[in-house]
Symmetry: C2
Subunit: 570 residues, 2 copies
Amino acid sequence: MSHPENPNNDHLIFSKGHASPLLYAMLKAAGVISDAELLSYRRFGSPLQGHPVPTLPWVDVATGSLGQGLPVGVGIALSGKYLEKAPYRVWVLLGDSEMSEGSIWEAFDHARHTKLGNLIAILDMNRLGQRGQTPLGWDSAAYAARARAFGWRALEIDGHDPAAISGAYAEALGASDAPALIVARTVKGKGVSLVEDKDGWHGKALDEAQCAKAIEELGGMRDIVIEPEAPAPGEPAPRPTAGPLRLPVYERSTAVATRKAYGDALKALGAARAELVAVDAEVNNSTFAEEFAKAHPDRYFEMFISEQQMVAAAVGLSVRRWSPFASTFAAFLTRAHDFLRMAAVSRADIRVCGSHAGVSIGEDGPSQMGLEDLAMMRAVHGSTVLYPCCANQAARLVAAMADQKGIVYLRTTREKTPILYDATEAFPIGGSKVLRETPHDRVTIIAAGITVHEALKAHAELEASGLSARVLDAYGIKPIDAAGIRAAVQATAGNAVVVEDHWAEGGLGDAVLEALAGEEPVVARVIHLAVREMPGSGTPAELLRAAGLDASSIAGAAKRLLSGDARRAR
Amino acid sequence: MSHPENPNNDHLIFSKGHASPLLYAMLKAAGVISDAELLSYRRFGSPLQGHPVPTLPWVDVATGSLGQGLPVGVGIALSGKYLEKAPYRVWVLLGDSEMSEGSIWEAFDHARHTKLGNLIAILDMNRLGQRGQTPLGWDSAAYAARARAFGWRALEIDGHDPAAISGAYAEALGASDAPALIVARTVKGKGVSLVEDKDGWHGKALDEAQCAKAIEELGGMRDIVIEPEAPAPGEPAPRPTAGPLRLPVYERSTAVATRKAYGDALKALGAARAELVAVDAEVNNSTFAEEFAKAHPDRYFEMFISEQQMVAAAVGLSVRRWSPFASTFAAFLTRAHDFLRMAAVSRADIRVCGSHAGVSIGEDGPSQMGLEDLAMMRAVHGSTVLYPCCANQAARLVAAMADQKGIVYLRTTREKTPILYDATEAFPIGGSKVLRETPHDRVTIIAAGITVHEALKAHAELEASGLSARVLDAYGIKPIDAAGIRAAVQATAGNAVVVEDHWAEGGLGDAVLEALAGEEPVVARVIHLAVREMPGSGTPAELLRAAGLDASSIAGAAKRLLSGDARRAR
């Protein structure tokens, strides 16, 4: 316990994070936290929060959103079995209420498929949820049957019988390719007559008198001390030597989808960095994570269509200090929103790629279009949000992701787009690029991703009408290049058109308004072109036009702004 | 088929939405769509989109995000069995890849628990996902074992044998309290040698020559006509007479949590409107949906801790024209983000309440704090987002929700807050309220929910310093009251402090900037107070102060803005 950094340590995740008092009491009994620390529970500034967070070195990940601990445990166990080939076990304490969360069954399915015999889950089957009985109550056999049907070993025990517990642990530790579930029948509040097996006490504290009586009923004050067995000290597994980074290079005259560049760059990055690992939700031939999978099969995990488990696996892999990249359609990342939110609470460093963003995917229709991913990812604490418009730019940004802390998001496009930048161009995080500029520009067009190409066409159209426009590629959505955007808009007399293939709320438009606002605002007249009606099927060009995101819509907006200028000047 | 409005019709949901060509071919064979319509498939403007959407009257809900059709089917079946007591069956076509989605198992669990013998799922077990074999391949027995462990009936058949299919349907239609899964072993591309059981053809069309050969191999051109048996014409089930609406009334001198008002108002609304139905994810004693559950137990469904299934059930209930209200912690609604997104594609009318918003929940810590819900809900197409600060206001907004189309969201607060408005005050959607106003106000404080109370305290603090501030309660986050906000900010010389208990991105701050921006912008100096660091545990007051959202932070920001004015004036 005094060496939480020992890589041979077993992992213990309280998936039922609300059992945090038990976790902290165990740490106290093990002598690694003090009475004073224990009494700081839930107080401001204490690392002993209401639900466990990794501000304590024995806590791998934040829990408290139910159903997340087991899928994260799968990620840690994948690392132990396949990447590190390490002896540690992963233990997960499950609540019975959270067995209703689908993510638990994603984890059951995946742990079987990947033969995670190093994963042991203990189900605290106490029958009572927050507001009444769980769907299965004390039906231990039903839980065991489900676990077995999902290919797990299952043991049913009396959770208050130390010998039974010990026996079950020994059995679970036996060599097997199947993960183990120990269904422990327990009584909530066992031994305290006031609350034992009673509904209505969830999350409620006893008053002083009740507390005194409870302690008496439990056998009086005790200072329990445990000495956990420590594993042999270990060193982090050596990683194979990395090679030089040789990012893909795309020629100016070609058109390449940024999603393809993601795959190519990820493959290159994998060759250069041994700590890189990729996961994908059964669409790697669409996201192009397959390029990495083919080149580095030992560091690729197919997560099938379970986006929650995919993000949880990335978080688990990051616990073991791998650098995980997770990819699926941007639209389907919404499935993992709660996991992304909690990954931020866990201070995890994970990289996420969402492909098929926007109406520009075309015929497949709105269910496949990522139109809210920028809003979702911007509102993840400490996140970075990147949106390339060109394959060379995408490749450089993928490389930059690997060095960026926190939750880092890359948005890619389905369609092939012309190469706009040389492969040598640098794209710092938090930057932007001015693609068209003259000293007499009268309007700034701010675009990102697919709309950069429409903006460039609009620029040409405006130029033909004798109107000079500045074009800014806001590839960094968060942090946004506030200085660059302010300078451009100021240089064009405050006229700006922002155009994004995303709903009008929460994306580039809002980021630009934030950049322009503040205590010293840039006075700007802004037309915001975004998706405002529900799209259907169609060609990418038809859908961009229908949403008002195509070149002529942009040029039209710019002209409208400038005619407003003229009106005001009269 | 020619009476899609007949309430006795069975429902058929293509959970594997990518099988849309089969659905449209069936509709063609049934004679309700023409050859010309069929050939408009995936073309711009066609109702025959790449994935089914309810622009066709035989399609209940949009699918295409896998794992959603079955949970929505659960909602329709709940209505049939418990609310309508109607004879219809709900059929769901599942793909094998989507069996990896946890939401499928939420549905399996819930359908068993609620004894939905009127629900029949057909699993098209063709072995191949988008990029290779599924985890279980053709292991029909494994699927059947899982279904049985979840309390379903399970049948294994050859999916290409009409007699076996017919027999399985007959068996599934037999009276039972258990839902039925038919595991149909199929071969992808059966009968077409080029693609039969071959990987790499997912979502790819044949060219003309390949197509001609395929038709030949399948037995040549046929014009299949089917005459589906029509159920007896039915009338929508009569609903019990509704009563007058008697919303709860809270006295000015008291403090009541808006979440409590949600429960009270929902109960009252339930008495007034027979079409109201409520669902909650096992936290109804926290969201106060329990008030409705106790008063109207026949119209309340406990969904346990499965937020995806909860929202899907609401969508399913809306298909049968109920008015569903779904509630859980705001933080955990992120779990259902993809379902909320798809509900908008489905044009569903559902009402959602997220409780325990913001750092002001206190000790439980960040896992329980809804800090991204405004960003998420604003970026749902056609959504309405409401955020009351007072119990009387909350009650009126709950009543307004019932008449609002689309996805309607109410954000509630854990803590008790003082009553600010009389119960008779009206709160139109899209409105705001000016709570403090004089002709010589120099700054507008824009707040919503819990921060309104801090803003009022800041107002008093500023007044004591001789500074007059306007206070605006932006209870309507989307649509935002652009006119009201613009007028207030203009009246205070462009000085504004926006304060919200939410991450800085995507919430009230962005909505306010959008309201002020445009082609005729209001020139404003805005300080935006929002949550910018990861919170921990603490008292609500400590956490509001630490996040810089308390009264003195607001007053400080206002003073800073005004000293900036003074600086500029020098």
